[in-house]
Every structure is written in C-alpha cells, then in structure tokens.
Symmetry: C2
Subunit: 225 residues, 2 copies
C-alpha cells in the first residue's frame, strides 16, 4: 500500500562514542566501533535484566536503555536469546576466573575461605547477586544457559576436587566425609552466601569471614601441625 518511508526522517548515524565519560575519543575504526556498540548493548541489557528479569525485559526496553533502535541492535545480536546467553556466559566466566584465582592460595582452607569472601565482595560491588539469581532460575529451563553454567563451573569443580584430594593425600586435612559431599555442600554454602548478598544487608563482613573459616575448618579437619 504505502512505502515504509513516507515520513520525515531524523538525521541518522548519530555517534555514541563514549559520550558518557569525559574521555577524549579519537576516531574509531570499524572494529573498535563494533566492539563498543556490542558492549553498549550488553551493558544496557544487563541493567534491564536485573530490573525486569530475562523474560520480563523486552527488546524495546533494552533498545531504549542502549539508546539504539531495534534495527541497529539486531545488527549485533541475532535474537534476545543470544543476548541472554552472552550475558550469562560473561557472568559465569568472570565467576570462574575469580574462584580459580582465590583457590590458588597454597593453604587450602584459606583458599576456600578467600574464594567465598572475595566472590561475595565482588558480586556485591558489581551488583551481580540479582543477575546470578536470574541466571540460576533461567538455567532451570533454558538448556543453553544451563550448559554455560555447567561448563564454566566444571572447571572450578575440577580444580577444587584435585586440590582437596592432594591435601588429603599429603596428610594436611582429614575430612570426615567423601570429597564429593564436601564439594557439593561447600559450593552450596558459597552460593547461598553470594545469593543473599550479605554486604547489602549490612552484615559485618569480618564476622562472616570468621564463620566461613570456622565452617570450612570444621569440615576439612586440618591435622594439627
């Protein structure tokens, strides 16, 4: 009937190059711009997902937050699902890296304590707890998000597992239960602490650390030196 272009058009191709911070921005290459726009979308989507949930946030909402039209956004991600996957994967990878780093501590008890405490602190500072909650819920019914979680976590799982086995063989600790149970429960404890975002509730973090250390110590049963 009528052409899709019979209305006046705004002057197009507005630049969005980092006008948020005062950074002086030189010219951008194609690739740089593409990367920046992708990050812009992920940033906006994260905000929307935290605010409204994966299912509750609409593409229009994300577009508005990213100050971008749907047509533009779809140049970067083929679907809403793809954005969800990208965000879930980035979050899980960041978590995994964080845990791996903390667990590098040669003292296994301190490694686990630091992993939990650092994870908790970083999650709070970056406002990740709501996103983590959302990802957990989504993983229950979205196979690709589930796989992302299992994949990134299996590395950490494997890491802790070997560390514990080595410590047992070296006679440093003598847990009363199987390594499988030890890991399952300690991971559950860690996740519970992260999800509850204790720093946001004004809980004394030094005391939390004391409790975490007491729990880990009680379950790993380090032998007296």
């Amino acid at each position: 009937m009528n052409s899709p272009l019979d209305t006046a058009r705004a002057s197009a191709y507005d630049e969005h190059r980092a006008d948020d911070d005062g950074e002086t921005t030189g010219p951008m290459t194609r690739a740089e711009r593409r990367e920046a726009q992708t990050a812009r979308i992920l940033d906006a989507a994260k905000k929307c997902f935290v605010r409204s949930g994966f299912q509750g946030a609409s593409m229009h909402e994300i577009c508005k937050e990213a100050e971008m039209s749907p047509g533009a956004l779809y140049r970067y991600f083929p679907s809403k699902e793809a954005i969800i996957e990208a965000i879930a994967e980035a979050d899980r990878r960041q978590d995994a890296d964080l845990l791996a780093e903390a667990l590098a501590n040669p003292d296994i008890v301190e490694g686990i304590v630091q992993a939990m405490m650092t994870h908790m602190r970083v999650s709070h500072e970056n406002n990740m707890a709501p996103l983590f909650t959302e990802i957990r819920a989504e993983a229950l019914r979205n196979p690709s998000v589930l796989e992302t979680c299992e994949c990134s976590m299996s590395q950490v799982h494997e890491l802790i597992f070997r560390r514990i086995r080595a410590a047992i063989d070296a006679g440093q600790i003598r847990p009363a239960v199987s390594v499988e149970t030890l890991m399952a429960v300690m991971i559950s404890i860690g996740e519970g602490i992260i999800l509850n975002d204790l720093p946001a509730k004004g809980v004394n973090l030094a005391e939390v650390e004391h409790m975490v250390r007491a729990s880990v110590t009680a379950n790993l049963c380090p032998v007296a030196n």
Copy 2:
C-alpha cells in the same frame, strides 16, 4: 459485526471433581466445588511455573494444564499476578511452618540441623527447589512477592533469634560473632543447600547432615557440658 456465539458449542459444564484419584466423590456443595477448582488452578499453575517460570508461563498454558477455559479460570483469580502471589505465599508459609516445627527441638544445635535437613528433604520430595528459585528471582522485582517472603520469613527469623539469645544467656553456647551475623550466615547456608537440591544430585544425605552439624557446632560453639 457478528455475535461472539454463532458457532456450535460443546456440551458445557463438564465436571472435574477429583477424577484423578480413585476417590469416590459424593455431591459437592457450591463452596466445596469452588475450593476444589481453586486448588486445581493452583496445582496446574505451579506445574507451569516450575516448567516455564512466572513470566514464561502463559495463562493459556495454565488453562490447558488445569483443563479449564480462560473464562472459567478468571472466575477464581482476577489476574495472573494474583495466582503468582497465591503460590508464592503458600510456598513461603509451608516453608515457615516446616522451619518453626524443626526449630522446636530443645537442643538448639540439633534444632537448626534438623530444620535444614528436613527443609532440604521436603523441598526435594515436593519438587519445590525450582519454585523456590523462581520465587527468589521474582521477589527481586515484584514488591508483593517480596513482601510475602519477608513476612513469612520474619517469623522464623524472630524465632531463631530468640532461641539463640536464650541459649547464650543460659550459657549453653558461646558464639564468636554477633547473633545478627550468625543468623544471616546460617540462613544463607540453609538456602544454598535447599536451592542446590542436593538429594537430586545423589549426594549422601547422612554426610551432608554431618557437615551441616559440624558447621553449626563450629559457629555456635556449644560449651562443654
């Protein structure tokens, strides 16, 4: 233009009275039938919400699961929101009752251990873990669900708080941290264990109980008798 009823209609008013189990069902009063239908809807909705999430499940999906038309369903609940609230409230109330019962144990350490273990077992048996995950996520952005959670949990909170204070005053336990931190961390641990649905992962529950007891004991520091 045309009347909404110019097509053939199925013979209406099918009875749904408990044809699922073999129970012989006598005549039902208006009130009984109303209650049964309400329960039928909540049951179906719960299944759908577990399967698809609060936002992902559609009213049509719930209607199909309940074998009921939208028109019929809306006689019992004014909106989808109302169904979500009803389910969240029932779930939280059941949890609160369960915890209160377990905490009645005069031995405070055993009371807390039993609260966690029983809660975990019941959640698994009734397939509540996914629903709990969903409710937690929904509470992040749905004020009425949030209020439901806080209301039902504040009773349990108060209960534990008083029990711990009394035990401290009686010299039975000597925790190293404040009661507030003690509760926040122990509740986090409990929730982490529930959410992870350890029984579904084949974890040895006796060992889990051993670990939970070790953690609680280590943090409450019961004085030697």
